[in-house]
Symmetry: C2
Subunit: 414 residues, 2 copies
């Protein structure tokens, strides 16, 4: 099956909004094994819309999925032109009309809203559970047009709830992916480690993606259905996990911070943080995880030497002799915040995030990260490339990974 | 002038990456007054690429801007097909070849890289200051194809540095925009305030955009050149600023955190933060601004009651009687962090970010924000809608705005 994606809206052509709908649909259609050779963006214009439908079918599509332009105003023409292209009349769809009346119950409905309940005769109507404009699917001579609303929060659920079930019986295979999330190993190192395994695989295929301080390994299998694809992926994923060991922190929707909070809670551990160059970003990453407050006792952003001394007990001699950006200070920060808070784990960062403040001895990007536990304090000296934000993001990921490993090892030492 | 944007790459058709290039180019072309009626995405395929160039010119484009597919591999065909379409040979461009050799100095260059220095005969070559693949512009019979690399960090500077100067003389007017950034006033309130002014304007036009806890007012003027457009915008922008008063925190690239840090530094003020529900996000927002360390003394994320008591001096009776999420606790947090740090301003947040932890009396979204200065402590009780992240973002914006107002008023009270 071959589909073309048609995004309708002058606001996309003006660059006012990013076309996330085309990406979402491309990704979903790829999973279904549907070929997409073209994506097109066109404005709300009758002539160009008619041309776009014609062109898509001429160049080989069986299916056109159009998003946007289903609104109540005169400008919205996607449905009208699709009906015209297939030679259909628009008729009032009672159920949609009643849904719309219910939606507006108690409030005055703008009269032009009725236009949204006018649908091409014979079309399959797709209910909108998140807005007023219903979608629809029209067919003629083995060609299909699916019309979906433009707002992603209406379009995406409608696709998943109503379009997927329509398309599945028409495709002969599905693509299913599983992603292993890796930290502490670079892309090229991961490639070397996995090369033999990756070369051997044809179904599932395996691909590496470099993210900020993370690497993702995506395994994609083609099979008649999702269950069969999952079975195909299982042995290769197991083998990759065996090779990568503790570097795999999670899968699919997992986040590194989520994995850290999960591990801390599972082991009944608590944590306290002392941040300098990461400036709250490490604390913030953990707080982003619902339930973080059970494990996170406090996070102190100690920019000034006063704060380092008074709140964390970093010694004046240490600051004087080695400076605020030093392994020694970082060690005393982690140990100090652990001691003061009574947490199982103390972690600290100090470094130079730039753009100013670098010297030949201590350049921009130099960051010390320390994690203190019951038995010992681990320290890492890092030199991160990139701008202020990238340096911070990389320091946060490294610190989270060090905490993860400390938490994983904790049960052994206590 | 009419342009069509052609994004080349199978990875876009598979939904692996979001097509931010098309949006960037659309926005830039709109500013130049260039019409864009179509955006097309096509894979790395000779036949389809040739068809795409042909189609764009047939349906009225004078200019096709293609991005992607300039890499060194056999798959990369954008340049080859453009040359073929205009009947040009590819020849070695010595300067690009030397740049590439210099880029790889000391490292081994993959041999297929030479392909990137092969450019269509007679093309204007666009230097790539951020990667190896040069861009180029070809013309024939009043039609132009501009080829740019796919990575946004190479494409965007190349467009601004090399393509803009090429296009400017060919357009008869420019669109120039200026954006006023507004905080503390909702979109509909801003609309009411500005309605008379907006209705009166035709050039510049004025449009409101709702952002998370901010509203942006964009004024766009059409004029023969940028200087004339700026002059057209000036009186309307001045009038809008007069109506909106202190709610306008900045313009264009300004951020609220940047405005706060700028104001603090300009007035020689320092700040310390005590965060509970915002969990480091407020500190992090300020630290994001280069030079923040001059004003920000410390940021304490005090999740536990111990931390609130020991680090901030919040009284046990206050926590017991009113709870951690209360105006009284928030007041003592801001006053405590200000006192302990010796900062000019202390700010604090405490609330329920959800998804758990809400009660009928203290629902999810309830946040107390306080700002303590020399003279007094201002407190605000907020009920924010949305998920955990939105509640945090809204609390951060509100806190920043309160700090901004406190800093602006500081000189009066001292």
């Amino acid at each position: 099956m071959t589909a073309e994606i048609l995004s309708v809206g002058t606001e996309i052509l003006l660059g006012d909004i990013l076309n996330t709908n085309a990406r979402f649909l491309s990704e979903e259609l790829a999973k279904l094994g549907v070929n997409v050779y073209w994506q097109t963006v066109v404005g709300d214009n009758r002539g160009r819309l008619l041309a776009a439908y014609g062109l898509a079918f001429e160049r080989g599509a069986d299916l056109v999925i159009a998003t946007g332009g289903l609104g109540p105003t005169e400008d919205d023409l996607t449905k009208e032109t699709a009906a015209e292209y297939f030679g259909r009349k628009l008729v009032l769809h009672e159920e949609s009309w009643e849904r719309m009346l219910a939606h507006f119950r108690g409030r005055q409905m703008p009269p032009n809203n009725k236009k949204q309940a006018m649908l091409p005769e014979g079309a399959a109507v797709l209910a909108n559970n998140n807005g007023t404009a219903p979608g629809c699917a029209l067919e003629r001579d083995g060609k299909m047009i699916v019309l979906l609303p433009g707002p992603p929060n209406e379009m995406e659920p409608m696709f998943l709830e109503s379009v997927l079930p329509l398309l599945r019986p028409r495709t002969d295979h599905v693509l299913f992916s599983r992603t292993l999330k890796i930290v502490g190993v670079g892309e090229s190192q991961a490639e070397i480690l996995l090369k033999l395994l990756m070369d051997r695989q044809t179904n599932p295929t395996m691909a590496l993606y470099a993210k900020t301080s993370e690497v993702w390994l995506r395994l994609t299998a083609a099979a008649p259905d999702e269950a069969a694809a999952k079975e195909l992926i299982k042995p290769a994923a197991g083998e990759a996990r065996r090779i990568l060991g503790g570097s795999v922190y999670g899968e699919d929707g997992d986040t590194l911070a989520g994995a850290v909070v999960g591990l801390l809670r599972q082991r009944g551990l608590t944590i306290a943080l002392a941040e300098s160059c990461t400036g709250g970003a490490l604390t913030s990453a953990l707080v982003d995880v619902p339930g973080a407050s059970e494990a996170l006792l406090e996070g102190l952003v100690t920019y000034s030497n006063r704060a380092k001394a008074e709140l964390l007990g970093v010694r004046a001699e240490t600051l004087e002799k080695f400076g605020a950006v030093s392994e020694q200070t970082a060690r005393e920060m982690a140990e100090g915040v652990r001691r003061a808070s009574g947490a199982s784990i103390g972690a600290a960062t100090t470094g130079i995030a730039g753009p100013g403040g670098g010297t030949p001895e201590k350049p921009v990007g130099l960051v010390y990260i320390t994690v203190s536990t019951d038995g010992k304090t681990e320290a890492r000296e890092c030199l991160f490339a990139g701008n202020r934000r990238k340096i911070r993001d990389r320091a946060v990921v490294t610190a989270l990974d060090m905490v993860r490993k400390a938490a994983a090892g904790y049960s052994c030492s206590t």
